[in-house]
Symmetry: C2
Subunit: 221 residues, 2 copies
DNA sequence: TGATAATTTAACCGGTTGGTAAACATTACA
DNA sequence: TGTAATGTTTACCAACCGGTTAAATTATCA
């Protein structure tokens, strides 16, 4: 019996919509801060304001909650990369991508941490997504970047590592938020830190990928 | 009674040295892959090849193992940043720092993941270290970088976000290793990925921080 | 309104987990 | 070699955890 009781009703009810939404919201909160193994159904139940058996009426297992959550979040998480446009101006595209990723780190830090927790611990529950949809999308965009480099529109560089670098630097502000705040100190760690980060990262990537070495006129090695 | 039985012997024995070492090595392995809450004393005991009560003879609690581990690892983890030399050539210093951090990500991924797990989950057990020694060291080095920028030796930029960017991009190869491998594919994900990463990151940071915009001759904004 | 479907809760279960007590085994040293 | 100090193991416990059962409650709608 693979389905939870709520999915075996004659038709999908309003209450089911609402409660499943409520549970996934709570699950995001808990899984993002504790990881899968570190989270308990009771914690999720408390955040959702429901009893544990009630949660299990809507999701048969803890794993099912996690799976549903990942599926829901993964798609929107990849949106910024999908918007990456081969026809656009390379510098503009890269700059926009950085800005969008940074906005997501600011506005959806829990989603970022959910993935970070999962990947960090070996991605046992999202391996398929990594090697499937994610890899395909990155491969596609890597081709675009490589073409830009070949055409001399940006510096010759490994497109995969460029994408990794953008992921790393932007998601850092969500995943390592505590550390960022600790280092910046209470005074400098206000919301302005995202604007400072955006300014720095634009400088770094735009200059860093400009064709030719900056002062020398040739690639710096 | 705050001390484990092994610490209440008349003097520190050879066996104590060896076993504590063995336990911390096993604890690193387990904590790095499962996080604190996700790790069990039994897991650590099995990796260490000892019985659970025997572990608890040397460390009173799971938390004590974790604390001892963090203390031991934190210091060496900050070494690369300490080597950052105010007197040296800025470009050389930054390049060396990136190289060292990347080597650490390659050679000590477990240490990286240990911290990543901890910070990601709100750093409840290392808050003091973040706001104390870490912040002090970063503040000190930020001053150096700021002086370089003021002197026109590198582009004007926020030194804190520069350090964050170096951390993020280098540690990414340890913390998100599974994802990196998945995206690169089995063929391209050999040990060469660290050299590719080093090449890319040098290009990015050296060009990115070079004074003046690369083609324009003025700062790109 | 009443009957039926849908939802919620209380009580419970077996396995796991962090940790303890005490008996047992080993080592070091006089 | 004997013995006291040190180290290890077996057996155990209470709390926690994922999940089930069945009964009670609430919503829906003819």
């Amino acid at each position: 019996m693979a389905l939870p009781r709520a999915a075996r009703t004659q038709r999908r009810t309003r209450i089911q919509e609402e409660k499943e939404e409520l549970i996934l919201e709570a699950a995001l909160e808990v899984f993002a801060t504790n990881g899968f193994r570190g989270s308990t159904i009771d914690q999720i139940a408390e955040v959702a304001g429901m009893s544990k058996p009630n949660l299990l009426y809507y999701f048969r297992t803890k794993e099912a909650m996690h799976r549903a959550l990942i599926e829901r979040v993964l798609d929107s998480w990849l949106d910024p990369l999908r918007e990456f446009d081969a026809e656009g101006n390379p510098v503009t595209e890269i700059r926009s991508y950085i800005r969008r990723k940074l906005e997501m780190a600011r506005d959806f830090p829990r989603e970022s941490r959910l993935f970070a927790n999962e990947v960090l611990q070996g991605a046992p529950r999202i391996e398929d997504a990594l090697m499937g949809p994610l890899k395909s999308l990155v491969d596609e965009k890597a081709k675009v970047i490589r073409a830009w480099a070949k055409a001399g529109k940006i510096a010759k560089c490994d497109p995969y590592h460029l994408i990794f670098a953008i992921w790393a630097t932007t998601q850092h502000y969500a995943d390592f938020d505590v550390q960022v705040r600790a280092v910046l100190g209470t005074d400098r760690a206000g919301e302005g830190r995202f604007e400072d980060a955006a300014r720095f990262l634009e400088l770094l990537f735009v200059n860093g990928l400009a064709v030719g070495g900056p002062a020398t006129g040739g690639p710096a090695v």
